[in-house]
Symmetry: C2
């Protein structure tokens, strides 16, 4: 039989019989297991590691939710599902999955109550910054580009980053509660079980899995369905090199041990289509502290390419994928301050011409860029990229400096966004939009709400949201 799939005919007797088999115990897997149990199904969760948590436990723990959640309301912010929908449709990438985005926005208020019901604690306070990982235990934060051009003109901004009550290490806190809730719900968690194959019946429907447990082969029959929640593929060098080669150059790959694309490969072997395999979330936190947003970001040709005040997830995407990871943040003496993360200074010069020479930019290019920038910044305008007035200040005070944003010399944090095609019911689809019976998916083994341009919290957000949908569906409860 081919790699990743087995015929049911090969398996005389299954070692485990269950209704729903969840593969992977990160945020998506926990949500699937909890709601499948709630729908009355027997649930087995197979996790490759000894315990649950996955990449979710290594994350900043932010969930992107909105539409008027209890936390948003408590913090005094108004939001609507429609405003959230408009922001996401405009910001998540070129080809947003409309039905998925719609369902996510419409169900977001309820979903946050579900998260709280699992025991995850939230402090009802607002952190007045912009971050995917606020340095406090505040519960609510702007974790995307809502307040910047062009999104501020397209949808009423609201903070939608929901962060559990802990200063940093929020991911572990989130997963501690979700894993505990999974156990409480009565799901059977089988650690050290690495799924190697999906089991297909004669019609190509998925009816179980084959796993390896300390060298022993274990077979699981899933009467209702198999839910793949195994994460992305940022740790699989071969897949990354083929689909997102530039991500290989990033200093940080945001992942637990398991993100080798195993679930994606299992689904493809069973006939699933994939989407957005070339997309990744790339964070470039060079404008921290935020005063550095007054700097001017240029590429290797001395040209600007983005509004520097936008979210760091957008900075990274543009710098890596469109400028090949060759960029500098130009500052002058008036605005320079010690960067929080990207500390490498590429050059300093008493004049822009000197800086340009040091950086080996084309002669005259930096001067041309800054003459246009300064001319408009003096009037609080940026007709080129729409940076907000509060971050517009002509760069005129020597010495001038360049913070190195070259991929190899700066913090770029990457994880993959592409994966199996699923519909808004979390069913895995074949290449013609047909459902693969018995197969569900959620989290980064699927192509989710984010279609290329990231806001922090979208990954845990859609993982838990569509994990629940998948679990409920596989349990026979529809959705």
């Amino acid at each position: 039989m081919r790699a990743g799939i087995r015929s049911h005919r090969e398996i005389a007797r299954f070692d485990v019989e269950t209704d729903v088999c969840v593969v992977g115990l990160g945020a998506a897997g926990a949500a699937a297991a909890i709601d499948a149990r709630a729908a009355g199904a027997d649930v087995a969760v197979l996790e490759r590691a000894s315990g649950g948590g996955g990449t979710s436990a290594l994350s900043g723990g932010v969930l992107y939710l909105g539409g008027g959640t209890s936390l948003q309301t408590a913090c005094g912010f108004e939001d609507t599902p429609d405003a959230m929908y408009r922001y996401l449709m405009a910001s998540v990438g070129e080809v947003p999955d409309e039905p998925k985005v719609r369902r996510y926005c419409e169900g977001s208020v309820e979903h946050f109550e579900w998260v709280k019901a699992q025991g995850v604690p939230y402090k009802e306070t607002y952190y007045p910054g912009i971050s995917g990982e606020p340095p406090t235990d505040d519960g609510l934060v702007y974790s995307g580009a809502e307040q910047t051009h062009p999104f501020c003109d397209l949808a009423a901004p609201a903070p939608r980053g929901h962060v559990a009550a802990k200063t940093f290490q929020t991911g572990p806190l989130l997963m501690q509660h979700l894993c505990a809730s999974t156990e409480r719900a009565g799901a059977r968690v089988l650690g050290d079980h690495c799924v190697t194959d999906l089991v297909l019946d004669d019609d190509g429907a998925v009816v179980g899995v084959v796993a390896e447990n300390f060298g022993e082969v274990r077979t699981v029959r899933a009467r209702g369905g198999v839910v793949l929640t195994t994460g992305g593929f940022v740790l699989n060098d071969e897949m990354l090199g083929r689909y997102v080669p530039r991500a290989l150059r990033c200093q940080l790959r945001v992942a637990g041990d398991g993100d080798d694309g195993s679930g994606i490969r299992l689904g493809v072997a069973a006939g699933a289509a994939t989407l957005h395999m070339e997309k990744a979330s790339i964070s470039l936190p060079v404008t921290q502290p935020w005063g550095l947003k007054r700097g001017v970001m240029v590429n290797a040709r001395g040209q600007r390419f983005i509004n520097e005040d936008t979210y760091y997830g957008r900075l990274g995407e543009r710098a890596l994928f469109h400028e090949d990871g060759r960029a500098f943040l130009i500052v002058d003496d008036a605005i320079f301050e010690e960067p929080d993360y990207c500390k490498e200074i590429a050059a300093v010069g008493e004049t822009l011409a000197e800086l340009e020479t040091e950086l080996q930019l084309p002669p005259g290019s930096l001067d041309a860029t800054l003459s246009v920038y300064n001319r408009h910044a003096e009037h609080g305008q940026d007709p080129v990229f729409g940076k907000r007035r509060e971050y517009l200040q002509p760069l005129v005070k020597p010495p001038f400096g360049a913070i190195d944003c070259t991929t190899e010399n700066c913090l770029y944090a990457a994880f993959t966004l592409g994966g199996l095609v699923t519909d808004a019911e979390a069913r895995v689809l074949g290449p013609s939009g047909d459902v693969i019976p018995g197969l569900y998916g959620a989290g980064r083994s699927t192509a989710g709400v984010c279609a290329g341009d990231y806001s922090s919290g979208l990954s845990l957000g859609d993982a838990t949201f569509f994990g629940r949908v998948a679990g409920c569906h596989a349990a026979g409860g529809g959705s």
Copy 2:
């Protein structure tokens, strides 16, 4: 059973029994059939249209070949497989398929003799221009970016576009000969047969196909293998919208009726992996006549983004995918001449400032760009993008004009480059690099030699080359 696949158990008796079943009769399918027959196999070719030709017959008929072909030699050009290899590895995109490129370059001289042996006529003369479709019946032409930065410094340039002896309409001539040769070879060509499913055995190997013929279901058993040569998916709006949405905006989609991705979907349904699904060849012939290469191409922010003297396939790729299809070619009175294809003039102005206003570019942006360009062009240099000296001339003579290169107002010609993953033996691969037994592919239903950045002739080139490999392999002859 799921869409696109059928179990062999469902088929009591096959209507046709053969060794090799080729799906689609374009250039790849003809090559596969001819060489499968040469290896002694029974061959059935199923073509959806009434006759052969496909998109290949609508193309410019150029084959990208080199390494010292008889035509190159007759025209007085030296070339080596190594020079060709170095050009292709540097130019075809971010992730070239090294084994495939190597094999293609090493076999190129022999392959051209094979093409001639099929009766395709070539005139042993060189057309001294750069084009994927020369306006003469000359046989040899530069059809890529070999002579431009940075490639001219990486590999000795040579013209590698091999064009059959006809003024335009070269694609039909090529396919007329390849189809005739297919018939002569004794392959059984079944027209009006649209393949709807691959037939799998219990182990997931491909053992035949199901086709529709005027409403009748016909089944074909293929003892040696099935070769998918069905073309790309540029005519499938849903697939294009999902994977290459910007291509939907192109005025011209280079395709025969069949390019709806059917073969890609068949392969995926059977468990194949895909690659480069977001890539397309995008031609933007705005610098014709060639004197227009002295113009300066800018994006919607008034910035340059490419060396304007490069091949039009690269112009289109950058303009559409990196500048969102918003671009202008700026000219002055000294260099302007009537464009061959892109005739829309977006604006004219007595000064650059006036032109800038007309084009709604950010104030000062065009002046800044041209001040840098002109300053260096005066000395025959372009340190920003490396345009060649012969096309460098300061733009100073009013009036100034802008040729509209906006996607909607200009000729962009698109076809897709992504498809099934195959190895250098033309075997279709699953997601972990495993071979799907019995399944082969070539041409634009596969991810081929070109991994995103096009030179004309690569598609017919790799289609015929790896079509032959596939046919030979499926016939049991190895390769």
